[in-house]
Amino acid sequence: MNCLEVHSLQKTFSAQVFGKPRVVLKNVTFQVREGVTTGFIGVNGSGKTTTLKCLLGFILPDQGQIRFWGENLSNEIKSQIGYFPERPYLYEYLTTREYLQFHWNLASSSAGGFENRFLEVLDLVKLSGQEYRPLREFSKGMLQRVGIAQAILMKPRLLILDEPMSGLDPDGRHIVKKIIQSQQAQGVSIFFSSHLLGDMDELCQDLVVIDAGEILYQGDAESFAAKYEGDSRITFRDKSGLRFEIHLPKSKIQAELDRLRSQGSEIIKVESQNHGIEYSFEQLRHEREQLDKI
């Protein structure tokens, strides 16, 4: 079952006085499976944030359909979604407790249950003991974690995160990854954007790739990583005992192996280099650029 279905989404930002209208989303269609972590990747300016903002109604699309669990966005649907935008400003004079209490009061009709959930969430984002500190005293990484704490506070079924690891140091990224993994373990569907593709390798089962407002790929992450495998490498020793390495496309490996054997070389190893999502993403973009030139 899909928790999110986006169909033919289009958005054009109208022009300033003398400018041209800017088309930012062109027929964007994709799905996010229930209980699965889906990465949304694209370079800066490719339309990731605009798409995420359309999902929650912050930007009104010109055309297209967005359905959560088969329904249009409503307050009932919103109460099942946790959202964290890219680098938001949190009310800095509030303490962690005041800030999360504020979000609890906005999302829930009763104050009961806040205390337990608050402590649970604080522990999860590794901010225990920081309940009464004003947010203005927090580092960037800590603020990011407070933001994620508000997103998971109401135990959402779907988490939408916009660049949750952007601008963080390795420690900060590690903590955020752990939080995402803990939500995965609880069966929460996660849809998050990032241009840090190394993190996608670790966290995502599915991928949606966007470039210049168009979806280039939608499917499972493993297939995407394997889509553009790198060269294979043959290490061999020739008759005189000298060791060599050659790099070849996968399609030519068998013929080369036959040739080397016929010459009496000893094959030491054959390695297939899988460069992962990052490599496939670059190849896909390169392919698209070539097509655009034609």
Binding site: F58, G82, Y83, P85, Y91, F102, H103, L106
Partner: protein
């Protein structure tokens, strides 16, 4: 109900804002100035203190209305703070109303606080009920002006909204002068302009009861209900208009 939650947080944040404190300091500077000027006169000290004191309160509240009203929502959009709130199960109208209520609540607190200080400085010399009515007029003005700044910022950029809402406020104060010039000029264009402005600009001058003569002689009472209705109607019109524009806006 959720508007009140947003209002409470807005109110709490606002009381800690530096710009807010600056406006309050300006009001106190006016109080100090009125003491100085008052000391130059033998029998008008209290009147001078009342007029300049009210001018200080009015200036502070007009500054807060135009300044915070024009920048509050746009700053929330720019910093993406409002996205976190609007992702919750509530409407944009609830958010809009909550922000307005929060700022107006803070203005009421400041208005009442400064008003009480001024009344104490005046040695409780003026009739309390009349004095309270004059203060109510100032708060009614700020309610319209804040709603106006909220409305304007949905149409134009914040800096333009600030100046245009202040400009409309001045027009609303000067409508009687325009009326006077219209009668003198006998031009049909001026008559038309006067009629148009009377129709599209809130009558701020009607809420200006900050005069020692009016307060001493209890002359405000007659107009209170009519002017309050006028003020609340304008506030409501501007809030409904602004909220419906905000609902259709892309929060980029």
């Amino acid at each position: 109900m959720k508007s009140l939650v947003i209002a409470k947080t807005t109110f709490r944040e606002l009381l800690r804002e530096k710009i807010f404190h600056i406006f309050i300091i300006i009001a106190f500077l006016f109080f100090g100035l009125s003491f100085l000027l008052g000391s130059l006169s033998f029998d008008e000290q209290k009147r001078i203190l009342l007029h300049l004191g009210f001018a200080g309160i009015n200036l502070a509240l007009v500054g807060i209305s135009c300044g915070l009203g024009s920048f509050s929502i746009s700053r929330e959009i720019e910093r993406q703070t409002c996205l976190l709130i609007l992702a919750r199960p509530l409407s944009r109208t609830t958010f809009y109303l909550g922000k307005w209520l929060g700022i107006w609540g803070a203005q009421i607190l400041v208005g009442l606080g400064l008003g009480a200080c001024l009344y104490a400085f005046l040695g409780f010399a003026f009739p309390f009920f009349s004095y309270a009515q004059a203060l109510f007029g100032v708060l009614l003005e700020t309610s319209i002006l804040l709603a106006l700044a909220f409305f304007m910022v949905q149409v134009v950029r914040p800096a333009v909204a600030l100046f245009s809402s202040f400009g409309i406020y001045l027009m609303g104060q000067w409508l009687p002068e325009l009326q006077y010039f219209t009668q003198k000029s006998e031009s049909s264009f001026m008559t038309g302009l006067n009629q148009l402005l009377n129709f599209i600009v809130p009558h701020f001058y009607r809420m200006n009861w900050r005069s020692a003569y009016l307060i001493e002689n209890n002359l405000i009472g007659d107009q209170l209900i009519l002017v309050t209705t006028h003020g609340l109607a304008w506030t409501l019109i501007l809030l409904v208009g602004g909220a419906s524009l905000f609902k259709r806006r892309d929060l980029v």
